[in-house]
């Protein structure tokens, strides 16, 4: 029997009473995902989660781009932990994979260097007159969904099955590098066999595609992207992944990182525009979903409330395959009920 090495490692994930920290990128590009996560936790799983309005960036993007000093990042992280402490929570849940990496790094650093921790406490006190406790548990939201995947499954209206063929949908899962490549023991299955998304896909009826560049970076890479002239590095990386997965004909891509979801979605338009190339048969591109969007869709949440219309690659063909009901007329309806202007459609990447 094939040995499944990931089985040997399961990280500790707190069971309840979470302090949530939102992501800079996700609130901009996938605003429905975080709302869906809170709804799933509170309404479907009955968990207690605090969404504090005073939260702020973790500095992750600036930190990994070498524009924010390490000491500044430590103090900003300390302030976020102070908010958690003041709210009476001990389990920290950062929405972003990069934030998750940053928090894990700072806690690790403080454990090895107590003097640095003392200095950070002093800097935070001087700047804000706040004090903080280090969280007892730091888990990524994808860890929590993974942990509860079998509890969510009976509540789901849909399965990851192609209703036209009756076969499981073929899914590419992409884990953010900062989830387990920085500290392997912080990820389910460590860095080599991360199972956090694969576990969801398999539990909900889908089939995970194992392709050559499965563990390759999505291409975000912070510094590779920030300066326009360098973006060729980023898009070339992403194209390498798409070329590798293309022969396996994935129905969609599932990610747990804000940067990965954004770049694997948006670069499909860029590659189509620059090289007239799409990585599916029909020229629509491969839909990219966050794990909250997928969970929400299967639970029967409205695709437009989840924010799928904000993606570059549109997801209607995928919704049709799963058999998810949706109203095309409400796709661009705002919260007020008024129809918003329809966005321009590129010719190189077909839109519905």
């Amino acid at each position: 029997m094939e040995k499944r090495y990931w089985n040997e490692y399961q990280k500790e994930i707190a069971d309840d009473h979470y302090f949530y920290e939102r992501s800079c990128i996700r609130q901009t590009f996938f605003p429905g995902s975080e709302a869906a996560f809170l709804r799933i936790l509170r309404d479907e799983l009955g968990k207690d989660i605090c969404d504090n309005p005073h939260q702020h960036t973790c500095t992750g993007i600036g930190y990994h781009s070498d524009v924010v000093p390490f000491e500044t990042t430590m103090t900003v992280v300390a302030r976020l932990f102070a908010l958690m402490t003041e709210a009476g929570y001990e389990n920290y849940v950062p929405s972003c994979v990069t934030s998750f990496g940053v928090f894990s790094e700072m806690v690790e650093k403080w454990e090895h260097d107590p003097e640095l921790l003392a200095k950070t406490r002093q800097w935070l006190w001087e700047a804000t007159k706040r004090e903080f406790n280090i969280p007892k548990n730091i888990a990524h939201p994808s860890d929590i969904i993974y942990k509860n995947r079998f509890d969510l499954q009976p509540k789901m209206k849909y399965q990851l099955v192609n209703r036209f063929t009756g076969k499981p949908l073929r899914v590419v899962e992409h884990i953010g590098c900062h989830y387990a490549k920085i500290f392997p023991d912080k990820g389910i299955g460590k860095a080599e066999f991360p199972y956090v998304l694969a576990g969801m896909i398999e539990a909900w009826g889908g089939e995970v595609i194992d392709y050559p560049e499965r563990r390759h970076c999505c291409g975000f890479g912070f510094r590779q992207y920030l300066v326009r002239e360098n973006r060729g590095y980023s898009v070339s990386n992403t194209k390498k992944k798409f070329e590798s997965m293309e022969p396996y004909e994935p129905d969609f891509i599932l990610t747990n990182c804000p940067g990965c979801a954004m770049f694997m979605d948006k670069w499909q338009y860029t590659i189509a525009e620059m090289e007239n190339k799409t990585f599916d048969h029909e020229g629509y591109g491969i839909p990219v979903l966050t794990y909250e969007e997928l969970t929400g869709l299967l639970l029967g949440y409205d695709p437009w409330t989840l924010g799928l219309q904000l993606h570059q690659v549109q997801s209607e063909p995928l919704l049709e395959k799963i058999g998810i009901a949706y109203n095309p007329g409400e796709k661009y309806k705002g919260i007020s009920g008024r129809l918003l202007p329809r966005p321009a459609s590129p010719e190189c990447l077909k839109q519905i």
Partner: protein
Amino acid sequence: MKDFGYNISKGRSINLDEYRPEKVDRLLEAVPSYKWCIGCGGCTATCTAGGLTDFNIRRIHNAFFRGQYAGFAEQLDHCMLCGKCLLVCPRGVNTRALIINMRRILEG
């Protein structure tokens, strides 16, 4: 095509399903010792032509196996067939025969 101010570089990965393995098979048939090579580079280090030109037996050996034949014929023409590489090879690979047969196979 739109210009965004940056380019997409071509990947350097080698798809072993796309190259023509029959050339490797023909070479293996003609020079069975081809498969004994461990890539130590002794041949390249001792090569007279390599000291005067960009001829590199080790690189050619790898490139041929990977199906990367671009610019190959010109490279092979630099070899003077002196056979010093054959004397130093720790695995007994018939490197001279390798070069001659590569030329034949590539010519058609």
